[in-house]
């Protein structure tokens, strides 16, 4: 054995031990057991030889102790390679002399990857300088053949270095790792010899020791609020919350159908490329709409012209989509599923075949509908779930329908009087004696659609750039913008000029949760919406006659706002309650 390898280890050890002992203030290493070491993989087995020619397997050397395993070759002259790994082990060996309880849990394994040269005798000689502290074994293998699977499993990247004549020089180039292995033979950490520190290794060993008697390692998983059971949702339909009427369902409904519908609703596999579910645009945590964009985007980010409507109380909608082109939820299902800029599926058959193939849907349609999945029952399942999303029993409901005098503020009461009086909102957002849907199942032209289609593009656009509003030249924005998508509203369905820019009246229930507003999401806040109607919308030849300047004062607008904010249902209010989803 060449002397300089051991010499390197000794020199390294003495030079570095002081540095390891005196960590600078800016190097902050975590305390033992203040962190977790999740399992990386199972530690591979392999046949090895001890310095006494004893045949053992790696697993036999792992079973009873925590193990640190390093790979070296004895003639290595690269001071930052094998000698360093050995010097680090020697430092651990020395430091743990002061901590016999920890030392008792640990075994060091130093395995040669040059079995032709590093015989058991040589490894004994190599290791002889370091014995006397920890349980430290110096190992080799009977042959390169025996070594090969170990090298492969531990992914040791080693290259033989050849001279100009192509002869092996006896040296290796390597990217060495050290492995921390627990008593269950799992790899719990991997260290690059390039950045190894004995203090860190000792800390990790202590972390594993303390873990033995504590909870097992948990990886962090995003927590979400508990959701209503299917039975609770079914009850929600059969006994709607205060302020809502009885739901008319066009088909028999049960909890199994609701549960299946919920599974479908949140299943990203229902889109062509598995990236998109119904809940991607109708996000439960955001009022079953999307608070973070005006108009939705679909598969591959394709643009959609309109804002995602909320699904709260959609059970009462007789017209679906902003332009009212569908008349039942079960049928509406297929619109987004097949739209090339929404979920992007090429055909009905493609969707049905895909659902049929997915293992975790097997038997579910049969259980719920008594038949395999088909176009009708898939729509009905999704419809069943969405119809259960009833939310009312708001402060307003408890005041107006429940008789609780103090359920809403005086300001909100004045707002309601404005709403059904001078402001005239109730003409479209209906409130009956026994219940209120705050919609009329009709379509109206408020001028917002007209504005989008007919206004001349401005020269500059105000853009929020990292919290700072910057006026940016329109041509800069246009250079990265697809051509604007026009939207003519109801006209696109009827082809009647009088229907240009008519859109469906949305419900106002839970309106505080469903920003941004209007069919295109162009208004960010309820204050902006009130201002829009107060000014009488945007004038155009088809402007609905119900839209007139209102002449509301500042206080009137605040009252109206308070009223609107009292329409949030009791089953969607609290952050920690069971969630309506």
């Amino acid at each position: 054995m060449k002397k300089h390898s051991l010499f390197c280890v000794v020199v390294l050890f003495f030079k570095l031990s002081q540095a390891w002992a005196e960590q600078p203030v800016y190097l902050k290493l975590p305390e033992a057991a203040s962190y977790q070491l999740p399992v990386i993989s199972a530690a591979a087995n392999g046949d090895v030889l001890t310095t006494e020619h004893q045949k053992l397997t790696l697993h036999e050397l792992m079973a009873d102790k925590i193990v640190l395993l390093s790979f070296i070759y004895s003639t290595c002259s690269d001071v930052m390679g094998c000698p360093l790994a050995t010097a680090v082990f020697q430092q651990i060996n020395r430091q743990l002399l002061q901590e016999p309880v920890v030392a008792d849990h640990l075994r060091l394994l130093t395995l040669s990857f040059n079995p032709k040269h590093d015989t058991p005798e040589l490894m004994k000689k190599y290791g002889g300088s370091f014995m006397g502290g920890l349980d430290w074994r110096f190992l080799t293998t009977a042959s390169e053949h025996q070594l090969a699977p170990i090298m492969r499993h531990y992914q040791q990247n080693v290259q033989k270095v050849y001279d100009q004549e192509g002869r092996f020089t006896g040296t290796f180039s390597h990217l060495l790792r050290v492995y921390l292995i627990d008593k269950q033979k799992n790899i719990r950490n991997i260290y690059s010899v390039s950045f190894i520190n004995p203090n860190t290794l000792i800390s990790d060993v202590k972390t594993l020791i303390q873990e033995i008697s504590s909870d097992s390692v948990q990886t962090s998983v995003e927590q979400s609020a508990p959701q209503m059971s299917a039975a609770q949702l079914l009850k929600n339909i059969k006994q709607p919350p205060l302020g809502l009427p009885i739901v008319e369902i066009g088909f028999p409904i049960n909890a199994a159908k609701i549960e299946l519908g919920r599974k479908l609703f949140f299943d990203r596999r229902l889109s062509f490329n598995n990236t998109f579910s119904c809940a991607t645009c109708h996000i439960p945590e955001q009022g079953f709409t999307n608070n973070e964009m005006r108009a939705a985007v679909g598969i591959e980010g394709l643009s959609i012209r309109r804002n995602s409507p909320t699904l709260y109380n959609v059970a009462y909608a007789k017209l679906l989509f902003h332009d009212g082109r569908e008349n039942s939820l079960a049928q509406q299902t297929w619109g987004p599923l097949l739209a090339q800029n929404e979920m992007g599926n090429p055909s009905i058959g493609h969707v049905l075949d895909k659902v049929t193939r997915i293992v975790d849907y097997q038997g579910l349609f049969e259980k719920s509908f008594g038949e395999p999945v088909n176009m009708i029952n898939l729509g009905e399942a999704l419809s069943a779930y969405q119809q259960a999303l009833l939310s009312a029993d708001s402060d307003f409901d408890r005041w107006y329908y429940g008789g609780e005098k103090d359920a809403i503020s005086e300001s909100a009461k004045r707002g309601f009087e404005l709403f059904r009086g001078r402001a005239g909102c109730v003409a479209c957002h209906h409130a009956e004696k026994e219940y209120a849907l705050f919609m009329d199942n009709q379509l109206h032209n408020t001028g917002m659609g007209y504005l989008n289609s007919m206004q001349i593009a401005p020269d500059t656009i105000k853009i929020d750039l990292g919290g700072k509003i910057v006026e940016v030249a329109g041509e800069i924005v246009q250079s990265v913008a697809e051509p604007p998508l026009n939207d003519l509203g109801r006209y696109e369905i009827t082809q009647q000029p009088r229907d240009r820019w008519k859109y469906k009246t949305p419900t106002l229930r839970n309106i505080s949760l469903t920003a941004p507003y209007m069919h295109d999401g162009s208004l960010s806040s309820l204050e902006e919406v009130i201002d829009f109607y107060n000014q009488g919308g945007v004038g155009n030849e088809n402007l609905d006659s119900l839209i007139q300047p209102l002449g509301l004062s500042k206080d009137d607008k605040l009252d109206l706002l308070d009223f609107l904010q009292s329409l949030t249902g009791s089953n969607v209010k609290g952050k920690n309650q069971t969630m309506l989803r």
């Binding site: 950045f195 990886t219 995003e222 800069i476």
Partner: protein, 454 residues
């Protein structure tokens, strides 16, 4: 071709750096990748043979699907400047970033839309990579992370930074750790106001957003930057700029992590979407740079004299009011220059960063109608550029140039060596570039070699 081996002598400076730092830094430069890669990785210090270009499929162009394009870039090769291989992977996944494992045998290339991670074998035949494995359960395994972005090598593992989450497709996200074999290990969520995870919120923001990840192992430090969620990065760029709600949803933070514990320690305000992180190489250079896309600034993340990490804006990039949109940045191995690309004007800019607190622009050159990525050879003499930012953010019409270009840098000027038109070649939108070299592998002693030796 020269590969810097591990043989080296500890000079006095490195000893001092080491003794000052306690963690081993002696490999310092030697274990680094070409100027911007993980310090855990072997690197090419001489002439690279190939550039692997992770390319987005483009509707109406060729086979329309994402592909790994291999370009021969060794001037001594007969096919210098030519595409020598194209490996299509199926679908448009929003191909974006890629990174090697620490042993540099595999290239992990991620798709921001479909959340797939494609693992290519680049060592068996460096000129003809093959698809070895596809991770297609990233979202489920990670507990809801969407948008795998940076694939960053740690020792025997890959750290994958997410951009989004499956709950709302917004910007709240996590780091996700895998073994080199492609097995899920753990998820490390970004600190938020609702759950700081033990971190100190040093400013106004703790948004939980993510983008890039980089480590300074000798200082036990890891850093993450913050961009935006799926809803924005997949949205048409022009549509998004006009959407005041969407524009509120950009990251404003850089987070300092305890690298070893994988725990966030400090959240810095860095407003305006800090993107690429580039850490200095010098053994006494305790800092990293990032640039903000929306506010057009270079920020320095540095260790102060008290041993605390701080963040400071140190330079403007172009005229922020004209939205130059800084994108990729590349630090030179001597920590002397920082290349900064600005997408909207298609310009690359060189900043002298010899004083990291006072970067000064010393050079600029227009590369094309749009430019995104820049990758430098280790010696800084060759700079490669690609054009695509994101499929729906690229320019429209005639300015939608899609190219891969090589320039030589002589210290004063960039001179173009060749250009490949990726639309004309029916390839798509070129994005991330990584280097390959025969010499990385030709003397490699693999398990099979052992078997043959017997």
């Amino acid at each position: 071709m020269k590969i810097k081996r591990l043989k080296r002598v500890l000079n006095k400076q490195k000893w001092m750096g080491f003794l000052g730092g306690a963690l081993l830094v002696a490999t310092g430069l030697a274990h680094a990748d070409e100027t911007c890669q993980s310090p855990y990785m072997a690197k090419i210090t001489g002439q690279e043979d190939f550039v692997y270009v992770w390319t987005l499929g483009m509707k109406g162009v060729g086979d329309e699907q994402d592909k790994l394009v291999t370009v021969a870039v060794n001037p001594s090769a007969k096919n210098f400047g030519q595409v020598v291989n194209s490996l299509s992977v199926g679908g448009r996944n929003e191909a974006h970033h890629s990174g090697f494992t620490d042993d540099r045998k595999y290239l992990w290339a991620a798709g921001l839309d479909t959340n797939k991670i494609f693992i290519f074998d680049v060592h068996t035949h460096p000129g003809k990579p093959t698809l070895s494995k596809v991770i297609d359960d990233f979202v489920e395994k990670s507990g809801g992370v969407v948008g795998p972005h940076t694939t960053y090598a740690l020792a025997g593992r890959m750290m994958v930074s997410g951009l989004s989450n499956k709950t709302d497709h917004g910007g709240r996200t996590a780091l996700v750790e895998y073994s080199n074999a492609g097995d899920y290990i753990a998820t490390h969520w970004m600190p938020t106001d609702a759950n700081l995870r033990g971190a100190l919120k040093s400013g106004q923001h703790a948004d939980g957003y993510g983008y890039d990840v980089r480590a300074l192992p000798r200082l036990n430090a890891m850093f993450t930057s913050s961009f935006t969620g799926w809803s924005n990065y997949m949205m048409d760029f022009g549509k998004m700029l006009k959407d005041s709600e969407a524009m509120k949803r950009f990251g404003n933070t850089v987070v300092q992590w305890d690298l070893h514990a994988r725990q966030p320690r400090k959240v810095f305000d860095v407003p305006g979407a800090p993107l690429e992180l580039r850490c200095a190489w010098g053994v006494n250079h305790n800092y990293c740079f990032t640039s903000t896309a929306l506010t057009s600034k270079i920020w320095l993340i540095y260790l102060d004299k008290q041993g605390e990490w701080q963040a400071k804006a140190v330079a403007d990039i172009g005229d922020p009011s004209k939205v130059p949109l800084p994108v990729d940045i590349s630090i030179q191995q001597d920590d002397g220059l920082l290349w900064v690309n600005t997408f909207m004007d298609g310009t690359t800019r060189a900043f002298d960063i010899s004083d990291p607190f006072n970067p000064k622009q010393i050079y600029q050159k227009k590369i094309g109608a749009q430019v995104n990525m820049v990758s430098s050879s280790w010696d800084g003499k060759r700079l490669y550029y690609t054009s695509s930012l994101l499929a729906n953010w690229d320019k429209k019409g005639k300015d939608n140039e899609q190219f891969f270009k090589l320039y030589n840098w002589d210290g004063k000027d960039l001179k173009q060596q060749f250009a490949i038109d990726f639309i004309q070649q029916k390839l798509g939108r070129p994005h991330q570039m990584r280097f390959g070299a025969y010499a990385l592998y030709q003397t490699q002693l693999s398990a099979n070699d052992f078997l043959e030796i017997k």
